[in-house]
């Protein structure tokens, strides 16, 4: 009997890169926000320690700002995955808040907590109040994480402030809130001083330094299964070129490294140096345009 090769499988085999050539088990670079691959740069660590302290101490609202591609969504996913699996926390994550309407935002958060959604703002707030009392009685603290929070409108900040005002009648802690957004978030907050006063901590995520860039690349390769004792896949000169090209934005670094790895697999090369990176960047004009769209 002749061996039958299905066309679909053949195409898939052709398209799927052979990551084992790089001695990794899974693709090391991706622009998806995956907390498993989160590299803790100094700025990320600072944000993590300050925000998590405020959340667990029940201090109210925490803000994290950063430009596009600095790792805010990864950080939001990290907070959600870590706190939601703990028995003393229940976490709701809103990836992108609905436009302007305060009620719509409350309904979205309610849906994330698994609460009934109501048509009137007061009814919805009552649902939240009852939920807080019920959770507090079990020693559970509700945490709300809002990504892309620079898109929040004034009306929505007002509703969030009302949520923060709720207290467990026995004097317990209130809802905890983490807002992550672009630097415009800080500007928008100036228009809502009532809410701004309740912000317990502010952190910012800046682009990475060359040392952090190297550490990020090495960390992701290690997390993908590459033996750390082997010769580095990216040598120092390549890392410097990557840092200059990407200006230290983590998402751009991951995107460029992904393309470089794919190119290396095609060429069946052993390592990536600055010449390899420069040649790739010269040949792949479309890459720069794509990168511009991502980072700008």
């Amino acid at each position: 009997m002749s061996e039958e090769v299905y066309p679909a499988l053949e195409i898939e085999h052709f398209v799927q890169p052979d990551w084992s050539l790089l001695d990794v088990v899974v693709p090391p670079f991706s622009i998806e926000a995956d907390p498993r691959f989160m590299y803790l740069s100094t700025e990320t660590k600072r944000a993590l320690s300050k925000v998590s302290y405020m959340v667990e101490a029940g201090q109210g609202a925490s803000i994290v700002v950063g430009e596009v591609g600095t790792g805010k969504t990864t950080l939001a996913s990290w907070f959600h995955s870590r706190y939601d699996r703990r028995p003393d926390f229940v976490a709701a994550k809103v990836d992108e808040p609905p436009k302007r309407s305060g009620l719509l935002l409350l309904r979205r958060i309610a849906a994330e907590f698994g609460l009934r959604t109501r048509r009137a703002t007061e009814d919805q707030l009552n649902e939240f109040r009852a939920f807080l009392v019920q959770q507090s009685s079990q020693g559970v603290l509700p945490l709300i994480i809002i990504d892309e929070a620079h898109e929040l409108g004034i009306e929505q900040f007002v509703e969030l402030r009302r949520l923060l005002n709720f207290r467990d009648p026995r004097g317990g802690k209130a809802y905890q809130l983490i807002l992550l957004g672009r630097p415009e978030l800080d500007i928008n907050l100036r228009e809502v001083p009532d809410f701004n006063d309740r912000v317990a901590t502010r952190s910012s995520l800046d682009p990475l330094t060359p040392d952090d860039t190297k550490a990020l690349i090495e960390y992701r390769l290690l997390a993908a299964g590459r033996d750390g004792r082997k010769t580095p896949l990216f040598n120092d000169s390549a890392v410097l070129t990557i840092w200059q090209e990407t200006r230290g934005y983590p998402r751009s670094i991951c995107l460029l490294c992904l393309h470089l790895c794919l190119e290396l697999i095609v060429q069946k090369g052993a390592y990536i140096d600055d010449r390899f990176v420069a040649t790739f960047l010269e040949r792949q004009h479309s890459y720069r345009q794509l990168d511009g769209e991502v980072t700008e």
């Binding site: 803790l40 100094t42 660590k45 600072r46 944000a47 993590l48 320690s49 300050k50 925000v51 998590s52 302290y53 959340v55 667990e56 101490a57 870590r82 706190y83 703990r86 028995p87 003393d88 020693g139 603290l141």
Partner: protein, 181 residues
């Protein structure tokens, strides 16, 4: 007529200032830690920032007291949770970042063993803090003391310690305690 010299025993019994060790109500104990030359230099700088009643020898006691209080405050914040320390504090560096301190530069070759003198209570406190942080992050006593020293350096600057007057070390410790606890 020549004056009569004291006997050897009388000379030994005579009260003389002890070199390098200012008088302390309770005798202090030696604790050995590895510090860099830069960290040792901090002692001299911090001694200038202390109120007049205190000297360089009091710095280790104060650094340990301050660190123990800050850690207690951190643990109090999560006292009703199921963790001893907040989720996002993943290593010793996270504590430096949480408390807005400059991160230490790892310089293994420049560490030198040195003895610091601590009051008995502070020896216990350093041991307790070391135990907690060692269990969490696997850090050694020297790293823990260096964190306390960095914390105290930051504290003296923030609080303008040199502008205050305290009657005793105990009063200064109480003042620090009132700020944080």
């Amino acid at each position: 007529m020549s004056s009569r010299k004291d006997s050897t025993l009388a000379a030994l019994l005579k009260e003389k200032p002890k070199r390098g060790r200012p008088p302390s109500a309770i005798s202090r104990q030696n604790v050995y830690v590895a510090l860099t030359a830069e960290q040792k230099e901090w002692f001299n700088q911090l001694a200038n920032d202390l109120p007049g009643e205190f000297s360089r020898a009091d710095i280790p006691d104060l650094a340990v007291t301050l660190l123990a209080m800050r850690l207690e405050l951190l643990q109090t914040a999560v006292s009703d949770r199921n963790r001893g320390i907040p989720e996002g504090i993943t290593d010793l560096d996270s504590l430096y970042l949480l408390w807005d301190l400059t991160l230490p530069v790892a310089d293994e070759e420049n560490y030198r063993w040195t003895s610091i003198r601590l009051s008995p209570q502070q020896v216990i406190e350093l041991g307790r803090v070391h135990g907690i942080l060692n269990a969490l992050f696997g850090v050694n006593r020297s790293q823990v003391f260096a964190l306390g020293l960095a914390l105290f350096a930051s504290f003296t600057q923030q609080q303008q310690l040199g502008n205050h007057t305290f009657k005793s070390l105990r009063e200064l410790r109480d003042w620090i305690r009132n700020i944080y606890l």
